[in-house]
Amino acid sequence: MLRAVAGLLHPDAGRIALDDDVWFDAARRVRLPPERRAVGLVFQDHALFPHLTVLRNVAFGGTPERARELLERFGIAPLADERPPRLSGGERQRVALARALARDPGVLLLDEPLSALDAHTRAVVRGELAAMLRELTIPALLVTHDHRDALALADRIGVIVEGRLRQVGTPAELLRAPADPFVATFTGANVVRGVAPGGAVLAVQPWDVRVTLVEPSAKWSVPGLIEAIEDEGPRARVRVGGLVAEVPTSDATHLVIGARAWAAFDDAHVIG
């Protein structure tokens, strides 16, 4: 999809436009090539030019002055004369961002921007990216498979499954009111069937589920055996009865794997 917006491939039908600039219109046979669209595309594996220095990479779509400005802004000015193969993953990502912005594009396109990074770098860069995106005055279109990235970075999220748009909303809306089971699991919610009357499917977030060893007096509850307990510092994730509950670690100390328990919750969203 990002490649279509950038002009690297042309869809069969539809229309792509930024404000008044029509870049693609299947009906009217408008097909602008990438160099005539005001886009800045950050590739998943960065696609930095290995035979050019960092400065020349960033200046490729703009001027050297603008390039230096951006290198300063991203804190990578000392790397100006290095070549891409010698940079770390996080550094390469910053160069890729700077290069896309050097063109002063009308929209920034990011293709899985954090997937090429190792887990540790990822969390740090996610925070930096979130800050940078907030400062941007242009819209940014970001594609990712990781719901944490989406929830942390986006103002609005569109969930696409098998080519169809299932739901568009703010991160809060997606968490509280997922439109279908896929969106629910994408945001990390539990999808519970066979509990609500009439075959209704429920979506409930792990932190709204509590675990009890005696039959609870909650609106809904699911009995089962405790299948797993994962200690994650102040909170613990407990799998019971097919649901995942996130409870304060102090509440989980008395739980034992294999014991009979109930997953109980009051707040849930009804899907379909």
Partner: protein, 277 residues
């Protein structure tokens, strides 16, 4: 066969093969006093041959680079119906016997040939002229360059020219600043091989261009011509060409190391800065 006997047979066969391959080259250098070689190379027959060879090969190589580069680029990048067939066509001169190449050129450009009459009417006669040498050399050497060129362009990560386009570069600017520099070492290796093949061409040249001293007699044709009358001169030319071939081989090896240092993937062996977010 017992282990020991097997080793002996293998080593003996290898020794025989190596001897067969190296002794003739050694003989080339021992049959004529090396101090005589410069004088022999100064013989007018030889200097004429050197001039013809240089002139025709340089022109042929220029043509090969000019037309072969876009050809290699197109075949490397675009997928179209018949692509494999066209690549096979381009590679055909590689396996074609040189004399057959010569006769094919005659059939195309000679009198009564496919284009021969049309050209003759325009006042252009090709066979047995220096341009015939150029064409013969280009015909046999071009596939070497184009094949290497295809590999070189195909080895460039297609994300890179795509990135250049999204940064505002036109297709020409993308080719000039991204594809060409990144494929350069592969293209250079191809050019060197094409040059070596062209200089060594014999069969197609003699059939299509003949062996006219000072006009179409290249160094290899010179060897053949001087066999009876001045064997030492023929040897001297041989030595010159062996030296040239050695230089070509060295050049290709050096280009191979240059190529690996500019590969587009992060080097698994090169130093990288420590991961610092």
């Amino acid at each position: 066969m017992r282990g020991r006997a097997f080793d002996v047979v293998v080593i003996a066969s290898a020794a025989l093969a190596l001897a067969f391959l190296t002794l003739p080259l050694i003989a080339l250098f021992t049959q004529v006093p090396l101090t005589d070689v410069p004088d022999l190379l100064g013989d007018p027959v030889v200097t004429d041959a050197i001039k013809v060879t240089l002139k025709t090969n340089l022109i042929a190589d220029a043509l090969i680079l000019l037309l072969g580069t876009p050809t290699a680029f197109l075949l490397a990048r675009r997928r179209f119906r018949g692509r494999t067939f066209i690549i096979t066509l381009v590679e055909l001169p590689l396996v074609l016997p040189p004399a057959v190449a010569g006769i094919a050129l005659l059939a195309a450009f000679g009198r009564g040939g496919l284009f021969g009459d049309a050209l003759a009417n325009a006042g252009i006669i090709l066979p047995f002229t220096q341009w015939a040498v150029v064409l013969a050399v280009a015909f046999v050497a071009a596939p070497f360059y184009v094949r290497q060129g295809i590999a070189a362009f195909a080895a460039v990560d297609p994300q890179l020219p795509a990135a250049a386009r999204t940064l505002g570069a036109s297709p020409w600017r993308t080719f000039r600043r991204i594809d060409l520099p990144l494929a350069a070492s592969g293209l250079a290796a191809g050019a060197v091989l094409a040059f070596a093949r062209g200089v060594g061409e014999f069969g197609a040249t003699i059939v299509f261009a003949g062996s006219v001293r000072g006009e179409t007699q290249t160094l290899t044709l010179g060897i053949y011509d001087q066999l009876e009358s001045n064997f030492d001169a023929a040897l001297a030319i041989g030595i010159l060409l062996v030296a040239l071939s050695g230089a070509v081989l060295l050049g290709v090896k050096m280009l191979a190391t240059w190529r690996s240092s500019t590969s587009t993937s992060p080097s698994p062996f090169g130093p990288t800065r420590s991961a610092s977010a």
